[in-house]
Symmetry: C2
Amino acid sequence: MLALGRAARAAARQVANSPSARRDAALTAMAEALRAQAPAILAANEADLADARAAGQAASFIDRLALDPARLEAIAAAVAEIAALPDPVGRVLAQWTRPNGLEFERVATPLGIVAVIFESRPNVTADAGALCLKSGNVAILRAGSDSFRTASAIAEAMQAGLADAGLPREAIQLVPTRDRDAVGAILAGLGGNVDVVVPRGGKSLVARVQADARVPVFAHLDGNCHVYVHAAADLAMARSILLNAKLRRTGVCGAAETLLVDQACAGTHLAPLVQSLLDAGCEVRGDAATVAVDPRVVAAGEADWATEFLDRIIAVKVVDGLDAAIAHIEAYGSHHTDAIVTADEAAAERFLAEVDSAIVVHNASTQFADGGEFGFGAEIGIATGRMHARGPVGVEQLCSFKYRVHGRGQVRP
Amino acid sequence: MLALGRAARAAARQVANSPSARRDAALTAMAEALRAQAPAILAANEADLADARAAGQAASFIDRLALDPARLEAIAAAVAEIAALPDPVGRVLAQWTRPNGLEFERVATPLGIVAVIFESRPNVTADAGALCLKSGNVAILRAGSDSFRTASAIAEAMQAGLADAGLPREAIQLVPTRDRDAVGAILAGLGGNVDVVVPRGGKSLVARVQADARVPVFAHLDGNCHVYVHAAADLAMARSILLNAKLRRTGVCGAAETLLVDQACAGTHLAPLVQSLLDAGCEVRGDAATVAVDPRVVAAGEADWATEFLDRIIAVKVVDGLDAAIAHIEAYGSHHTDAIVTADEAAAERFLAEVDSAIVVHNASTQFADGGEFGFGAEIGIATGRMHARGPVGVEQLCSFKYRVHGRGQVRP
């Protein structure tokens, strides 16, 4: 593993200094290689699937692991789309001149070495490798052991693309072992050869990475997202946003998990909102006021306010005004994505300012919490920390910066 | 210590949500309190100095610790200047609209809780506390035990300013004990109540913080800065920049420690540059080519290339072209500040692009590596990491960001 880290560092300088056109040529070649090597990739996936079935894995697990020609084509197309994004490296982030004539520029640079630890989704090998290369970084990829053969076959295609474009194959390395100690070695930083770790997978993986990593982590543990229906909310808009935020897809991190309804509009809004949820097949766990509106509502327990259900379940509470809503979100939320529905601009402004979440939303669904919806093209994940990256982590967030100072012989007095 | 961390977190939300005018009023009141409480602060400093003298501390240590009315006035004036800086919180860093009409803003927010661990300089209590408050953060300050009474008296004035403006005194807390275990508790994160640690002091302090911190660190361990005199360098400009970079102040982190002279101009430039250094009283440790130009040059050892002398000593080497210069800096440098002197724009462009340092300079002194010289107003330190902050850490770098999304009822298809 340490040799792998050193190889990554050696490749990092070459990739960081490579022109945009060469990185894009590699990405295009990768997409072609993924298509050309489809038979080998699908065969490797078949072998992984056979083992997973024999091990008695759940149907949902098998589905996440499974590739078919259409899914593989989607993976290749996503890599080609990343090639078409603008180059995030070298962007001039700020520029100014001092009275002594020195010209300053703050310019985006690669971060260095990004380690991605993931579970069984085959697309991550390609997505993460492509996003890292686009941003001038090198990638160390650790696949879940159940998808090891699939990930290896995909990584082989990615490395063929690198070689085609004259870039080092070590720019995208898959950890070549299923040995679990490899994860510990990555989290310890591979002797200074990991600049950031990105876990992609379930809560137990993310929790372990956040607890054990000695290097920076881009991740979120929970997406306990709120929709707050303020006193001045239009009922039809609130209903539309709520149903979308909760039920469009229940398994995504931007799905709403708690509905807060303001006391001031509960008389008109609470029952119709709760009934719409129930009618759509969503279990509602409510406080006393909510239980009172419909016999299908079950009583919420304290733990429900802090739970990311990722299912057709929602917690519902009546709150006494904006301050109580913000206090509830700060107490139970996960600083991911929280929304207010209101026609009152001042209330919206306070909510957006005071809720300390990566994404705060006024009059729209929390399910827009996604790099693609932000216009970032693709994301390697969503981060809830406050350091460096926050919210969707796209190619721009995979960059650091440096200062370039241009003089004409100036010395400091 | 854990109670101190919890108090900081409680104060953090209040400070983060406070209007700019209130934070500035507190800073102005702090400057006034530092002036009004000068007798108590100077008496506390006298007591610290008496102990330090009794303990046999070196004269340079005593000088760093000592306050007098003029130095204290400079500290108060620096706090007042920070009040006058533009508010870094709430700046709109980016703004765009998606085809579905959703409006996105990326807006600067405070980082949260900044812990500053420092040694004997009395100004740090005021500077660091003021920079944190200006950026909407709260500060936990750990002073060196030799300056404990001075730091306590200054912190008292800072807290009086906070109280005057109606902000919680816990927004700037001095660790109220000289117990060394307090540092370990801070580096462990005080139960999630430290968002970043900034060490201000000597190399052993920074090394300990970087090794032991379980939270992000803004710091640099070494400032092993280079001046590379390229083949196309004007000799007079090179001499002026070199003497300033090495000798203006030798104890600052932006001071040059190694001179690289290109083989192509060594015949004309090496001897005069080396002789200027020697004539100015600088010891020169050179490679074989450098030793040959003047009998006063001593032979450099391998360790000299990696040494931050912080003294009137410089290492000098002849390198064979731009690639060799970059390779030397990447091998021995500390990614802090490195300069090229050349009239060749293409060579300068390559140097600025390929040297992976926080600050890269063309035709100016490395001693401009300073937040004030960058126009940042003041800095809490200089960072050489690639995460979040890099280079001078001013009030803007003490900020995180969030995304604000403005809709009109949009839901995700």
